[in-house]
Symmetry: D3
Subunit: 302 residues, 6 copies
Amino acid sequence: MDRISVEDVLLRNVRILSKSSPQEMRMVPRGEGSFPSVDVLKEIVSLIKGIVFPDFFDCHRNNEKIRSCYLGVNLEKLYSLLVTETRRALRFDNTYSEDEVADEASSLVLRFIDELPEIKRLLYTDVEAMYNNDPAADNFAEVILSYPVVHAMVHYRAAHVLWRLGIPVIPRVITELAHSSTGIDINPGARIGEYFAIDHGTGVVIGETCIIGNHVTLYQGVTLGAKNFSLDSNGHPVNVPRHPIIEDYVTIYSNSSILGRITVGRDSIIGGNIWLTHSVPPGSRILQRREVSAVFTDGLGI
Amino acid sequence: MDRISVEDVLLRNVRILSKSSPQEMRMVPRGEGSFPSVDVLKEIVSLIKGIVFPDFFDCHRNNEKIRSCYLGVNLEKLYSLLVTETRRALRFDNTYSEDEVADEASSLVLRFIDELPEIKRLLYTDVEAMYNNDPAADNFAEVILSYPVVHAMVHYRAAHVLWRLGIPVIPRVITELAHSSTGIDINPGARIGEYFAIDHGTGVVIGETCIIGNHVTLYQGVTLGAKNFSLDSNGHPVNVPRHPIIEDYVTIYSNSSILGRITVGRDSIIGGNIWLTHSVPPGSRILQRREVSAVFTDGLGI
Amino acid sequence: MDRISVEDVLLRNVRILSKSSPQEMRMVPRGEGSFPSVDVLKEIVSLIKGIVFPDFFDCHRNNEKIRSCYLGVNLEKLYSLLVTETRRALRFDNTYSEDEVADEASSLVLRFIDELPEIKRLLYTDVEAMYNNDPAADNFAEVILSYPVVHAMVHYRAAHVLWRLGIPVIPRVITELAHSSTGIDINPGARIGEYFAIDHGTGVVIGETCIIGNHVTLYQGVTLGAKNFSLDSNGHPVNVPRHPIIEDYVTIYSNSSILGRITVGRDSIIGGNIWLTHSVPPGSRILQRREVSAVFTDGLGI
Amino acid sequence: MDRISVEDVLLRNVRILSKSSPQEMRMVPRGEGSFPSVDVLKEIVSLIKGIVFPDFFDCHRNNEKIRSCYLGVNLEKLYSLLVTETRRALRFDNTYSEDEVADEASSLVLRFIDELPEIKRLLYTDVEAMYNNDPAADNFAEVILSYPVVHAMVHYRAAHVLWRLGIPVIPRVITELAHSSTGIDINPGARIGEYFAIDHGTGVVIGETCIIGNHVTLYQGVTLGAKNFSLDSNGHPVNVPRHPIIEDYVTIYSNSSILGRITVGRDSIIGGNIWLTHSVPPGSRILQRREVSAVFTDGLGI
Amino acid sequence: MDRISVEDVLLRNVRILSKSSPQEMRMVPRGEGSFPSVDVLKEIVSLIKGIVFPDFFDCHRNNEKIRSCYLGVNLEKLYSLLVTETRRALRFDNTYSEDEVADEASSLVLRFIDELPEIKRLLYTDVEAMYNNDPAADNFAEVILSYPVVHAMVHYRAAHVLWRLGIPVIPRVITELAHSSTGIDINPGARIGEYFAIDHGTGVVIGETCIIGNHVTLYQGVTLGAKNFSLDSNGHPVNVPRHPIIEDYVTIYSNSSILGRITVGRDSIIGGNIWLTHSVPPGSRILQRREVSAVFTDGLGI
Amino acid sequence: MDRISVEDVLLRNVRILSKSSPQEMRMVPRGEGSFPSVDVLKEIVSLIKGIVFPDFFDCHRNNEKIRSCYLGVNLEKLYSLLVTETRRALRFDNTYSEDEVADEASSLVLRFIDELPEIKRLLYTDVEAMYNNDPAADNFAEVILSYPVVHAMVHYRAAHVLWRLGIPVIPRVITELAHSSTGIDINPGARIGEYFAIDHGTGVVIGETCIIGNHVTLYQGVTLGAKNFSLDSNGHPVNVPRHPIIEDYVTIYSNSSILGRITVGRDSIIGGNIWLTHSVPPGSRILQRREVSAVFTDGLGI
């Protein structure tokens, strides 16, 4: 290959690609500066995981004082990284002037840090719930080290607090990190009680306006989704309560879809592969009639 | 443990494992040299992502000339890495002699680079389509930073161009990288128009001979698959058009399977959990009758 | 933000978070020391992948003696890393005294290494099976480099041997690594024969007590699960055979659920989206009657 | 070792070491924030080396436009890193208020960048001079890649410009980096003309107030030092001109010491092991009378 | 190049090089296991530097409690790394049985950690002495960040404590690390008082049995060496006091050699380039008569 | 700082710096491609160190077969890295056509590898010599791990073989790496016998045409240099034998300079600080008469 033409092709495309299209311009928020960094947010969640499960993901220290040294260092690192990312994210919120952003970011992150003990408490209830639901789980350590739901819930429970604090963009990036590595897609806006378990988890979708009680268990492929949505006058969908309310002690088996702002009453069991679009009272047992036949085939579904 | 026996066990297995079975020999292409490297291909897609969305994944530069410096460096790096990988991949294609491979690789990669502006244009339409489909999306930046479909489409749109250029192995490795991190499995051979959106995405499968129009939207778990396939005289399946054609402005809701070389006419809506194996005309509304009963249970589907 | 108050918040939460709750104490095994490290286990599987497919993931060496040098180094590294992790894992097993753990770990790992040639043999049958099942597969190399099932089976086949050796925690962590990157969730306790193929794979779940014969093929979203399970007197589910037996030459298409300790007889074909909770004899063709209507809609299932 | 006592010892020393002694307090400048980072300054000099010798330390590009892309990226990186370090260093200068520091740092760094073409020009004269002085040098490339003087002069010439701009601390750290890797210790305050060569170089010391002309050559172990210095009323030494002036075309051979504010006239040659403390006129040949005897030994000098 | 012959050459030399010569066997201590790692020892000294100068090499924290968290983490890391290296080093000492080594290593390292506050105190006296000796030093920070003597003394003062504790091999490796980066070669066995300064430093050698008082200052190229040494009956040199004693407040200028077990009395000044092999009383001023002539040249000393 | 002016300054200097001066053009060899990489050459010497001292710098393996696996892998890595660097270096040699370079590089590197056993043998004699010369050396391991001469001799002995093979540039870069980290500057062209020792070493210079016998010992600061050199008609110095010949069993103490093509006869001892420019017969004892006086001071030599 002639060097000349290689360089011609490269430079020709540099010229074209360096021009911002009008579309591209629309995507950028006001002011200068970097966007939140996905890699740093990943590191932030790792720090949180190490703070919550210090024996598993950081280092095991029996001595409480030594352990508190590790916690102090990690909390300060967390504070410092998260303040930087929060400042970047606040550029997407027009409420604050450029001058207020630094103070606001610090204040929001401190409020987040004050929630860490509660996040930790909730996550241990999730571990316990998962252990109690799976006959294949041999001990709590195995659950913490290998169950995807634990990974997903660390991300969700941290992201949900950040979402409640009104920080833009970051909560969604954090839950998407968990979605990517577990196949469990929980919108940070969803509200989820304690002792929450998901087994296997691939394909689970939990929508933004869901409200989930305590002691709820889901299996793989469960969708808690919207039935449909309305558009505003610009044709952009309107963000209203549109996902289900799941009350305490409900179990939903694999691949079922619960759709719309309906309520599944407490102590209900929803079987696998159910398509549910209306509310059911407490104590319901929803199981679909099934028939299997060898009669008619219209495709194998490869 | 006795050192002697440790070393005996190690060396015994070294001896066995270093012999290539006949099966193993069949897997290796002609000639010498390394195989395409999955890690380098991952880096290549990262470069492309930074070239397409320079504000998000590389660095934000308002000044067009400075930005073009970054683009120049990244394009040259991309060229150099991709030429090496393409040379390795061309060993699987018997069309070229060993001597022609270097020139051919360079020429193919330059043709790929000439397509980058179009790849970029298409990806921005995908971002816009996704934003317009999700009430939970607050701004374009959130979509680019956190929606799995954007990640999947960067991989697919680059891989599809490489596939059209006839480069072996690499396109499939690239789309599988996206499948691994998003659960969205798009075969690089599929043809997909502009403004393409997938929400949530886990479990989506789009087969090799699919043809998808503009403004099409899919939800999680949608399969655009084959109904069945014929075998050749060696018992190996024959690669013929066997996946659906989806026309413009079609929406397919979660967990539906569209199977075989059928056509879903433009402006159609396919509801969730549909199993469709025959063509439907433009403007169709396909929604399955559902009944939920508490009568008969034959398993919870854990 | 006032530095004083930042530090106050950090130190206040250090104090709270450094106290172990009673719940937290229950999760820790006897004795001192670190837990198995997920990152090291990831490295261990990479070594195994390089040992099994030396041309693809390590380095291509035609000369058998040179290749055996690479194998020797990798096998010794594998031995050394896996002994350390096994020692850590054996803390979860009360059978061994602290003193016996080191010898036991070494002995177990050597038995694992003696199984590597058989693991390799089985994996090559899986590659061949996958190649023969997919018309889009151009050659064996593409299958090895890009098909998620190969990645999943390396993890599963290694984890299953470790599970048979009775090593706690580690097998589950290893298969979960594959679940995270492929969406294929195979419990290490499952028994799977040779020539096993899974296409696409996202959402596949294979339970702990499954028994799968030779030449079995699955598609995405297939669940081989439990129908329900009994609890012991503590309310913890009992670990008994509760997942299906799939005989030789069975194919199960996408999104079907086979639930409970039932048997699918050899040479059977189970179509897509089937919900099967009773045994079927050899040679069965199970395909569900489907009707599609536009009559009644109770939700789109977003 | 008893875990308890290990932790006791650690915590006891944590308590002692975390208290700042009064001495320690004196060392810290006003305000908050990090100190200049030695590692970042190392990276900054690497960038400069790549900018000055792009073929050697960065990447060889015949095409001027492609080369300018690399330069643009490296210059911007240099700007951004050096501004941060300069801000940190300006804390040591009480001239600027906290508010002025950011603007001042940026302005100083831009003035530095405007000097880079002259730094480059001077360094090429040094390379040429070195090449012309050493019969063992085969080509310019060998000189640039392996002669310690080139490494030392990149550090010195950059540090000297920063020193002239009045930036505290950083210039000295930069020349000390070269001292550490070459044994050549040039104070950034020294003034050195073009075509400067040092062969071997270990042990060369060039003091802060030296003035060195063009076409000067030094050999290993040469000291251009002070004869003595006066103390101020606090007993701290006074910083006045106290090092030699070396005029054009002077050569000084190995291990000679030229001490005090004296002048070595142009075209002079100072032989090896000379101890010179008074000025010499242009054209001098200073060579020491030597006698070697076997008569009297008072030590071997191991 | 023919692949066959490449592999032949490689394998032929593998065979030769893998045989241990008798000479090689003599170099290995009893037992199994790794040797102390130079890289880990480098990391250990970095930890010590960060513990002693937390504002400079670790991170600046005004809050004492936060700072103590960093210290706790670093001290524990130091403890853990140094215990491992000490165990490895104790293999060279036949005093301890294999079983005693672990306990002994831990106990020695704890005694080292108990000396850290004193090491810190001494190092601050060295910084102060250096600052007071150099008119070019602008502030303490510049001294700590850039003066090679500080780097050398951190290594020496830590190594000397380890040497006094009788730990083999490690002390020498640590001081050699400083020698490599500063050109200052201090044997860990030397005894050095407080307020010790070395300017420039390249070529300084301080022998194993030196005794140096307080407030001593050296310049580059000073040797405190042996005059000669006696051999034992095996022809190996005998390790007896053979290096000088330098009393308080002595200054020795550049390139002087002080040789043998002589004493330089307190408050003495030794000029540059002096060769001193007999003791001198307190208050001495030793300055060499110099004559410079242009008469006779017997070589330039390139 | 105004963004506009920042970018203006950057772009202005990009323009200037991207133009190659005529001087710059002269430094580049014919053809295209990268220059030898200093970092890769560093890695190459590390590999050699691990091959020669496998117990110290690679890993300790009692089992000869396991050890030979490590050697095989390292030798192949060495071969592959060194062939690439040699190709790059051969661009500086006009003897070979572009087409011959690849074969020639491979052939030269194989000849180098065939010398490794002899390099190893020589290095063990150096270790033994050093051990026998230093009363402070406790065992061979300490010498190998911490004595700079060992590091310097690994570089020199490898570089000398490459120099004898006629490979340009690389030998000098390799010995300069040792010079940088030890202060010992040995030109790769020098010829040095077995059992060679240098204590401390800082400032030692050994010129290109030196010939050194067996059992020679040097101390710090010794120069084996040229007295002066002749220029060719272009004013470039001529490369003729111009450095000393040191016969067997010679010891030269610290800071002595032996200059010119003279011979130091076998069994001679040269004391410290000697300036020797004429040959001395075997068995010489050259020690300088010294007088120390307090009479006349003309400078302290700071």
